[in-house]
Symmetry: C2
Subunit: 357 residues, 2 copies
Amino acid sequence: MTDALAPCARIGILGGGQLGRMLALSAARLGLDVVIFDPEPDCPASRVAVETITAAYDDLDAVAKFAASVDAVTYEFENVPAATAAAAAEHAPLRPGALALDVAQDRLTEKTFLNEHGARTVAFRAVDTLEGLQAAISELGLPAILKTRRFGYDGKGQAVIREMAEAEAAFAAMNGQPAILEAFADFTMELSIIAARGLDGEVAAYPLSKNRHSGGILRESFAPAEISEDLSNRAFAMAASVLKALDYVGVMGMELFALKDGTLLVNEIAPRVHNTGHWTQDACHVCQFEQHIRAVAGWPLGDTAPHSSAQMINLIGHDADGWESWLRSRKAVLHLYGKRETRAGRKMGHVNVLGPL
Amino acid sequence: MTDALAPCARIGILGGGQLGRMLALSAARLGLDVVIFDPEPDCPASRVAVETITAAYDDLDAVAKFAASVDAVTYEFENVPAATAAAAAEHAPLRPGALALDVAQDRLTEKTFLNEHGARTVAFRAVDTLEGLQAAISELGLPAILKTRRFGYDGKGQAVIREMAEAEAAFAAMNGQPAILEAFADFTMELSIIAARGLDGEVAAYPLSKNRHSGGILRESFAPAEISEDLSNRAFAMAASVLKALDYVGVMGMELFALKDGTLLVNEIAPRVHNTGHWTQDACHVCQFEQHIRAVAGWPLGDTAPHSSAQMINLIGHDADGWESWLRSRKAVLHLYGKRETRAGRKMGHVNVLGPL
């Protein structure tokens, strides 16, 4: 197997939050060492890593030193700066590669790329001026959503426009950042697919999950989602096509909207392990975190068949205060991220409530 | 809940081998930080711990400093010196306590204690002289096994005596160490039970596993063992009785012999997580490592019901070279311990091969 890492090899992870922490735990189970790079000392992943480099992402000397000390580099967040990714890639294989970051960081690039590769999205228009926004609204109709092209997550940097009169305020809220207007998706279900591609091009996906967001934050997922085989096959085909087009290595999260007429649209892709895949930790023998590590290590992908069904419930802010009653719940498995300060809206942990398939 | 640790609390583990490593991984999933104490730098558990103290176990100042820095102390091996345990217990709750160590460290004390608390063992005699050995052989019959009372593991420090003429060589092999002669158990099955006791006195046990040893080393376990409910109930009753008598907090492994006539004898107890409980990692929602951490943290015990059956196969020495083919096996889950050097007889990892219940 060419380019495969040996057991005891070192994997570098850019970002030391809960996703980096759970990646590190899966890597450790496989005998691999993890080095974390994060600007915050004492970040959640640093406490389960063999080494942590505390530096800013734009400290390219530190990034180079970090990458030179490991056998492969991956990341837990899609907003890794292009210069950081390039500096890392000079010293170790970057998996997934820079193209995935480039596509995922800009909603306009992303939606254009998706549509070019068999993954349909809502209609959209680039917006750089108020006049452009007004023209886009005339074309796409209302309601529509204006979003910054870059750096949006958990519903930040978004404005719903219901009447033309709201256009000006919505445009002003973008603070001069390049934006995109998206047609409103009148969906009946939010779904997602967690798919992986190995270094050898093999693609594997978990059954889809059905998700519920509120206030722009994922609240819970249920998997496997009760959907038709046809819908499931179409989601897999779209994910496989996008993974191949990106020459992707690792796990990708793809958020989907299912419309009343059966149409499946891609909302967005995340070039990383994804909150809607946390259910795999306790309902599958190989979870999304191990799957990602296997791919990054150049190892064969694992089995994605679940042995249980799962309801994943995010513990957000003071939800986590209920940890003890979750521990007493027989079919619940508790995950806490080791964050020392509870803040409103902060993801503190999650619970997987297991059931029969 | 009195004496319960808070999330983000620190647990100290004496010993940083694979058991300490797997304990640390389970603690991390629950948001707890782990501090490892081990004489070896770069030991397997150190690479997933927030901090490691590298010092000899008889460096009582280092032990005191370690224990003072954590909220509870536990251990991954039964041969923690009494002075080390005492030094730790002065600064933090030691779970399980010193009595469990005292009983488990000496085969004579152990078998005497077990028989006093409803857990039958083979017949045995203390042996301090050759004449004593010969007298013991006359009483117990042959074959019989002479063992050092202390520091035996994986079949070390043992001699099988088949004829009276072998007594002298067997006694000489003990090197003057206090010994015990044990009657031969003509067992039909090697079983074990992994049981836990919480700080509140609650007891929970996993279904028994059937084990196969060879050359004194565990090779594989199968669980749940196909045994009668009566046998299972008797094993549970013995484990519960011993846990209570020891005022135990944590997970205990109890190795059992099932005789042809249905008699159940205890071979030995280990006051720690146990190799024959590794199957729980992938076949149960709460594994023995999480169960131990829950108990040590003063948290409620978890559900011990399996969702799958499992065959656990130890990867010993160069068995681990087959890691890649295990990764390709759909129903196998691979665990590697991150040991940098493969040596004959060394436990390098294990595999859980899952099946339906």
